[in-house]
Amino acid sequence: MTSEDPLVVLSGVNKHFGSLHVLRDIDLTVARNEVVVLIGPSGSGKSTLCRTINRLEPIDSGTITIDGRPLPAEGRGLARLRSEVGMVFQSFNLFAHKTVLENLTLAQIKVRKRSKAEAEKKARELLARVGLADQAPKYPAQLSGGQQQRVAIARSLAMDPKVMLFDEPTSALDPEMINEVLEVMRTLAVEGMTMVVVTHEMGFARSAANRVVFMADGQILESRTPEEFFDHPETDRAKDFLSKILKH
């Protein structure tokens, strides 16, 4: 778990939305097998940061490399890279017109060029792994939010990603469904998946993260182990943030 084997490296990353400077000189290295949790007040840029890693948000300056290769510009190279970076969204974004099984097989067949049989075998294995083996023929709208998000995680895993990005994966869920999703993520973390997770689930950050990165106003203010961060936050912004979210 050392940073000697960097998988995702961001250096000097800047991003503006119009006149708003949402990412300011971000330097962040995520090592292979590391689980990094990004937390911070809303509007701090953590979701944007997560989305820059597979270039859903292009950056204005700086560099991002994944496994030593810089993020390519829009085109074939970028598509190939994205297929190696899993992404889980707040709003699940399962393909509404496809069954659960098709959601998992489509990109395997069209992007990875696997055979239909091979893709379906992998899909069923993954569905079983997230506890949804019996939901394969259903459409996303027939599933609960928690189930949809687990399907979305399985869909990303089907591409054998090198790293998984989670952009507030439980924020759109009813409270009773949050745990089933976190449980899947915890298992992934234990199995050694490299993960970047934007979340408000402090319990998850404490138990599953190797490192907590605290952001405010587009800057990284702290980057430390969960124990250090939660028990002895250094910056006033972090202390203020923690006091607000942990006191009710």
Binding site: L56, E74, R82, S83, E84, F89, H97, V111, A152
Partner: protein, 214 residues
Amino acid sequence: MNVLLDNFALFREGFVGTVELTLAAGLIAMVVGVLMAGCRVSPVRPMRLIGGVWVTVLRNTPLTLLFFAVVLGLPRFGVVLPFFTLAVLALGCYTSAFICEAVRAGINTVPVGQGEAARSLGMNFGQTLSLIVLPQAMRAVIPPVGSTLIALAKNTAIAGSFSVVELLGTYRTLNELGYDIVVTFMWIAIGYLIITLTISAVFRLLERHLEVTR
């Protein structure tokens, strides 16, 4: 004397002409319209520019003027085609601009996240559009495309002024033969109604079909 029964062959010829014009131009309009909609939402700027210019030029040109441009313009560049083909080109390209915008409106009804998820899985622009976005846009696109194709069926009447056999043009012959012009026009109107109501029915079926498969 009965206008319709006495001149059934003439009416039929005109009716078939209008149907052929509508089908051929409709096919071109659909294909080109969807392609241009793809251009207009493409991440590549020159493609967006092509789509934008195509729609702006064709949507803002009077159809009759477009017919003149095709019929008189193309031969100057050495392109000699039958009048029917020229009419299909003019009608098809003109209508494609409206189809393009209807399809683009449908694309905009599909949540952005659908495309983002597809791209995140490594799908390229063409795959994202054809496998994920367009199928979900279909339902919203059906009604305006139906209207556009009905408008196309009626616009084919202009081709009659450019030596193409079609339904409206039959009135000239019948008028010369001394038939009551009002009755003639009534039968012509019924002919158009048959075509446009068929289009309506087909699109209503399509809409219902898409409702159940969703």
